[in-house]
Symmetry: C2
Subunit: 139 residues, 2 copies
DNA sequence: GCTTGACCTTCCATCTACTGGAAGGAGCAT
DNA sequence: ATGCTCCTTCCAGTAGATGGAAGGTCAAGC
């Protein structure tokens, strides 16, 4: 199986597959012509990586997950710990974005959005007003 | 005012201030010794940038906002449009993260997290199961 | 006058996770 | 032989900084 087919089968761009080989996530054999030869197991790993990346795991976490996946003596607590750590980061990010969203929303609501130059959005940016995150909009 | 004080006053690291000068967001004068000499206006702009970046505006959006800020003949609708575009992106991002969070949460709940190797998280990653986003966890 | 230390300068490398493109080889059909 | 598609490697670039090396400047202390 050449890289084109592997790309098709895994859903990852060929460029990305080459990159994953470069950083050691996969090690496909090579044909005599130098072309990468992907076995079913390689494609399986690529799909695993695609899914893990889609869930937001970093490359290094994917590397660890792949290692655990291939380790028949793994303890599921290790996998769970990784996932929980990631979940925590996602929660933090969501909270940050929500706070930010609330501020943006307030500013936008306060802005007339017409031909005149007066603008509460610019006024807020200039004032460096952080109080909106503290009081006003509860998440 | 040297870069250290400007950093202190604006809340931005000196490295970042140099970077902002490099990409043309600010243009502080230079003293005869080559040191950057920040005026109150420069520091004001830096604080403006710090606040805009904290609200998640991209550098190019910050450049545009700064331009509008300095343009006394601006129309607030232009500022509002920029902010609304950004708000939309934030909303999209939040929705993505929430969906992802729901999936992670389900997987984590299903995993025993003990010494045994059986792990629904790895099983899901290997199966490339996208159905969880479609059905199960409503946002 | 000399050294020490804090501060400043520029320039280059590094980070994440790819992506784009150039230059050239391999394979297959005509 | 030609053309076309696929493959290869290598280099550069993205966003937005950040870290560090090598070296200039300045004020204080002895």
């Amino acid at each position: 199986m050449n890289i084109g087919e592997a790309s098709e089968a895994s859903g990852l761009p060929a460029k990305t597959i080459r990159y994953y080989e470069e950083i050691g996530l996969i090690r496909p054999r090579r044909d005599t012509n130098g072309y990468r030869a992907f076995k079913a197991g390689d494609v399986h790993k690529l799909a695993f990586l695609a899914r893990a990346r889609a869930l937001g795991f970093s490359i290094e976490e994917c590397r660890a997950l792949l290692g655990l996946y291939e380790d028949e003596t793994r303890a599921s607590e290790n996998v769970k710990a990784l996932a929980q750590e990631h979940l925590h980061r996602v929660d933090t990010k969501i909270a940050e974005l929500k706070a930010l969203r609330a501020t943006l929303d307030e500013l936008i609501a306060a802005c007339a959005g017409d031909h005149r130059p007066d603008c509460p959005i610019l006024a807020d940016l200039a004032a460096g007003n952080a109080s909106r995150e503290e009081n006003g909009g509860a998440n």
